[in-house]
């Protein structure tokens, strides 16, 4: 059914207490849809909601109201940014918070662990049958990769759009998965959907880390024909992506594919023939969206095809190199990108632990000091990505190879790069910062980090006091 009234659509899906709803985060901090739906559900006085947003951003203030009014029982997500984390600490949940990975979420939806009653899926354009895309319309977001499993497996799938067209070219969402369409004046604020500010770091330390990472990759022998590569959209990662493609160009090589979140730097490489294909689960800027629309070598993929550990065709299974960040690292190479050192949630895995586990070489890049705090702890506050998946830590003051990688240690035994043990790297940080007092997170457990395979990991706490 198609309606311009959310109330009519909600009558159609027959919402009830305890309903499981999912949302996606492709519209990031420009998203109007989650708030629109949540406000309507709360106005209907629904409680004990089970929520499955793939990511939560500062714009999602309705979730704070939902916490205050005690309307959420369980919350399962991959990423939390902004004041919602503080609200979680203040108000808690009646049930449990589960922090999944992008691949783990796709797996859990497909395998029925994330049982979704209604998927509310914002799309930038659809036709009247329900074929939909993120590439056309007034408020484009590009790939809808993280919404595909929701659309396929939810009991009911509702599209929410501000643009209904007669036809959709290459729909990402198929009409056969869709039960209803809500036509609204606006699904989002373009300023928050794609970032115009993704830029390569200008920080000298970040650039040194990027240069040393490229040297490390070069000396590792992995910059070779048909290498595949993924890095994030942070300033250091973007610098590495740019330097990586420049190195390919200097060597006269081309990569087989880049994957993950795509930026203009990945697109530039594709257009210069430095990489054969882009596999895109999320577009970070307008260049990426344009390229996905126009370039046949720039492919859309779902979260399952990206990183579901039980999908034998997942793209990251063939990934040579992944570059990732960290809030904390510990002496066992465990990485935390979920909480700060006081236990407050500051992010989440996203694809961090998926790619670290699958890639042939996983490299963590970070300044050795984060403000006044050393990066390397005896034990991270919470494990997002286990150390067994992490091969190398690169900081501006030294590089540590995980002792399990005997091959890398052997290969780099004569390097002029500043290689050292992770304990030595920690000592270097402590020499500058002092040894911070360890304050283990404590308080009532409000949830857990879940591995991509579905195993319960470290607890997350509602802090006392």
């Amino acid at each position: 059914m198609i309606s311009k009234s959310l109330e009519t659509l909600l009558d159609f899906v027959k919402p009830s207490d305890g309903m499981a709803c999912s949302f996606h985060h492709h519209f990031r901090n420009g998203d109007n849809v989650l708030n629109m739906v949540m406000e309507a559900l709360m106005d209907r006085d629904l409680t004990n909601l089970e929520l499955y947003p793939s990511g939560i951003f500062p714009v999602h203030t309705s979730l704070i109201r939902a916490l205050k009014e005690n309307r959420i029982r369980n919350l399962t997500t991959n990423y939390i940014s902004g004041p919602f984390a503080d609200a979680l600490n203040t108000y808690g949940l009646t049930g449990e918070l589960t922090m999944q990975t992008h691949g783990g979420r796709a797996r859990a939806i497909i395998e029925g662990e994330n049982a979704i009653d209604v998927a509310f899926i914002a799309v930038s354009a659809c036709d009247e049958k329900g074929n939909a895309t993120g590439l056309e319309g007034d408020n484009v977001c590009g790939s809808l990769g993280y919404a595909i499993e929701d659309a396929i497996h939810a009991k009911k799938t509702i599209l929410i759009t501000d643009t209904i067209q007669t036809t959709i070219t290459n729909p990402q969402i198929r009409s056969k998965w869709v039960d209803g369409i809500l036509h609204v004046p606006s699904i989002g604020d373009p300023r928050g959907i794609v970032s115009g500010t993704l830029s390569i770091t200008k920080d000298p330390l970040g650039l040194k880390i990027a240069r040393d990472t490229i040297r490390f990759l070069d000396e590792s022998g992995m910059i070779e024909k048909d290498v595949s590569f993924q890095s994030g959209a942070g300033g250091i990662s973007l610098a590495i992506t740019k330097m990586f493609t420049e190195t390919l160009e200097e060597k006269g090589l081309s990569a087989s594919f880049f994957t993950g979140g795509i930026t203009k730097h990945h697109v530039n490489a594709l257009e210069k023939g430095l990489v054969k294909d882009l596999y895109d689960v999320q577009c970070f800027d307008l260049d990426a969206i344009r390229s996905l629309r126009e370039n046949p070598r720039h492919h859309f993929m779902s979260a399952s095809d990206y990183a579901n550990p039980n999908n034998d065709h997942r793209k990251i299974k063939d990934l040579s190199i992944v570059i990732l960040g960290a809030a904390e690292v510990d002496l066992d190479f465990n990485v935390n990108v979920t909480t700060d050192s006081s236990g407050t949630i500051i992010g989440g895995s996203g694809g961090h632990s998926d790619t670290a586990e699958d890639a042939a070489l996983s490299i963590i890049v970070s300044p050795l000091l984060k403000g006044r705090m050393p990066l390397i702890k005896d034990r991270v506050t919470s494990i997002t990505t286990p150390g067994q998946s992490v091969d190398v830590i690169i900081t501006e003051r030294g590089i540590a190879i995980n002792p399990k990688r005997h091959d890398l240690l052997e290969r780099f035994k004569n390097t002029t790069l500043p290689l050292m043990s992770i304990e030595s790297l920690q000592k270097k940080a402590h020499a500058l910062s002092g040894v911070p007092k360890h304050s283990p997170a404590k308080g009532r457990v409000i949830g857990h980090i879940e591995s991509r395979h579905g195993q319960k990991g470290d607890a997350l706490y509602r802090k006392e006091g």
Binding site: K202, P204, L205, L207, K208, R211, E396, R397, T416, A431, L432
Partner: protein, 276 residues
């Protein structure tokens, strides 16, 4: 022998803390122009305390103030075990002679040549025993001359060439002036011009300028290979004059080859002893 000299202000903790990861061959901690008159003590005490506690693994100079009343206070705060020397602004023979009377014995001087008058003194300055390098300060010089710098370097060509002549005549290093804007293309042009004129090194005012300067002022792979062949032939023949690839090689060329190879080895650019 250094390729890059990086100025950092003496009162910025983050820059002091990271001086050894900026990859500059020499750090110049600035207590002069970068520090407001009311903040001199803060810079002196902060720099001194940091150097004594952390002893960064990099060659360090301090740009002291030109006026005796200020540099006497500067000298009292220099931790001698951690600092190789001072960069002295507005150098001329008279002011340097005065400085030398109070300068601790362990410190050498990099003379900042940045006034028109200094160019009439430059031979005497270069000849001073404790002067280790001549350093062109083009911004102040252009300001006094009423000249405008651009990446072509035309406005400072005479100054650059004169300084290089004096430095080389007395076996001192010639260090080029910083390029003030952060445009990498302009820096590349300016630094390449300086390198071709004969400067040994160039200074930087931002850490992000250092990698490009290091790259430009490092011996290239072909240069290193040629130097190794010249030295190998010299050592095999035991003479200071021979022919190689149809070209005559004599003492200055052999000396230059040794110097180039020493620089390459110092910065880890020498790929071993092979001459092939």
């Amino acid at each position: 022998m250094a390729r890059s000299y990086l100025f950092i202000p003496g009162n910025v903790p983050r820059m002091l803390q990271n001086m050894d990861v900026y990859e500059a061959d020499v750090i110049i901690i600035d207590w002069e122009d970068a520090i407001a008159p009311g903040e001199k003590d803060e810079a002196r005490i902060l720099s001194e305390t940091f150097l004594k506690k952390h002893a960064p693994d990099v060659e360090i100079y301090i740009r002291i103030n030109a006026e005796p009343s200020l540099y006497e206070a500067d000298l009292a705060h220099i931790p001698l075990n951690h600092v190789k020397g001072v960069v002295y602004p507005k150098s001329d023979t008279a002011s340097l002679s005065k400085l030398l009377k109070v300068l601790p014995d362990s410190l050498d001087i990099i003379a900042l040549i940045e006034t028109p008058g200094a160019f009439f003194d430059i031979k005497t300055i270069a000849a001073m025993e404790r002067i280790s390098a001549l350093f062109l300060g083009a911004e102040d010089l252009c300001s006094e001359l009423g000249a405008t710098r651009d990446p072509s370097g035309d406005a400072i060509l005479f100054a650059r060439s004169t300084l290089i002549m004096a430095a080389k005549a007395y076996g001192k290093d010639a260090v080029d002036t910083p390029w003030a804007d952060l445009d990498a293309n302009n820096l590349q042009k300016d630094a390449a011009r300086a390198k071709n004129l004969g400067f040994d090194a160039k200074s930087a005012i931002h850490p992000n300028q250092v990698p490009l300067i290091n790259r430009l002022f490092s011996p290239g792979a072909e240069q290193i290979k040629d130097a190794k062949r010249i030295i190998a032939m010299h050592e095999r023949k035991g003479t200071m004059r021979f022919s190689l690839d149809g070209k005559m090689v004599d003492k200055p060329i052999i000396q230059r080859a040794y110097k180039l190879l020493e620089k390459a080895r110092r910065y880890g650019l020498d790929g071993g002893d092979s001459v092939d």
